[in-house]
Symmetry: none
Subunit: 202 residues, 2 copies
DNA sequence: ACCATATGAATGAACG
DNA sequence: CGTTCATTCATATGGT
């Protein structure tokens, strides 16, 4: 949460990632109203209409326009609209995927269960902004290490190296012996000495 | 989705999560079922500091170094660092672009009684458009009642790495107003003026 | 009160 | 780089 921390500083989970000393006391709600956006009925209605009309991934401009219009019905920010569409779309697909699972159960098809079709666009004007390329390999099928392994291997998976795809860009490192250094010392009362992170950049 | 992540460890349970609607009980908390990198508070802090110090696109070497150092606090890979910076940078811009509007035109109809509309509470420590100099910003996870005070010392060696690289080019108004428009009129009940939501998408 | 669900918000990972 | 997807966390709300 560098700067995320939306909802002000209200009740953010004390330390969820640290894993240490799970502070779990979340019971007290202290129902501060202004914690997260609570859309009004009208806002939801408009958003739903837009979604049903086929709008799935509004651009930044669209988001702002929508937000502006909806602000008439109550407090709203652009990011709310953004998240709304993100969530709505994701949840719909999520549900869809769950349903599509049972069908695979019948066929016992070892191959990939074929991703759910993505033609749920109800375009009012036959427009097609994004060709909808969500072709994520939802494969990831059961991580069952054992069991009937009848997966047809077309080609060895770990044949070619493919070490770090994310490093494909990185041009030649021009690390110079610069004097500028950034030292960050974080000392926690843990069982380790204060780490002295010293990086030279530029 | 490879999920292999160079090594293939963690047999992450394939989204079982009680069947649906993640979250749920608060008890789940840090399931810490590794499937994807879950940075620790210390790691996030260091990364954030580096970012604040001006590091935006670390080179391969820098990524390696950072990853090495941060591995002390928990499992981490180079690609995590790489992605972290990518995301952080992208989201900052994205957010800033979104926040820019929607504050001027607030019709703010007295539909909702209570609502001290200071919708700036979302960013407790708003980022720094102006030159950033204050490094006493340890404002993360403020709700930590624990006595675990992390002593983060940041001392510039030469001079504070004044992040001058804030001269990112802004591709202003690259989008043209298309004539395709979608009008959504929601005037079901007459309890509100017939809002004519007209959005031009695509 | 607790539990269950719905949903807003955040972010890691990846794609184009 | 900007965008998109998936997953997870957090919270508001309603049912029992």
């Amino acid at each position: 949460m560098e700067e995320g921390m939306s909802g002000g500083f209200c009740i953010q989970t004390p330390a969820r990632r640290g894993g240490s000393s799970g502070g779990g006391g979340v019971g007290t709600g202290t129902g501060t109203k202004c914690g997260r956006w609570n859309p009004t009925a009208e806002q939801v209605k408009v958003l739903t209409e837009l979604f049903r009309a086929g709008l799935r991934t509004p651009s930044t401009d669209q988001i702002q326009k929508i937000s502006s219009q909806l602000s008439f019905y109550g407090k709203i920010e652009s990011k709310n609209v953004f998240y709304w569409f993100q969530n709505h779309k994701a949840r719909e697909r999520q549900k869809r995927r769950r349903v599509s699972k049972d069908s695979a159960l019948l066929h016992h098809q070892p191959s990939c269960p074929q991703q759910l079709d993505h033609h749920d666009h109800i375009r009012p004007t036959a427009h097609d902004p994004p060709p909808t390329k969500y072709f994520t390999e939802i494969n990831q099928a059961s991580c069952e290490p054992q069991g009937a392994i009848e997966t047809l291997q077309l080609f060895p998976l770990n044949s070619y190296p493919e070490p770090e795809p994310w490093k494909l860009r990185m041009f030649s490192d021009e690390l110079k012996e610069n004097d500028a250094a950034f030292a960050c010392t974080i000392g926690r009362e843990r069982d380790h000495p204060p780490l002295d992170l010293r990086l030279s950049f530029f």
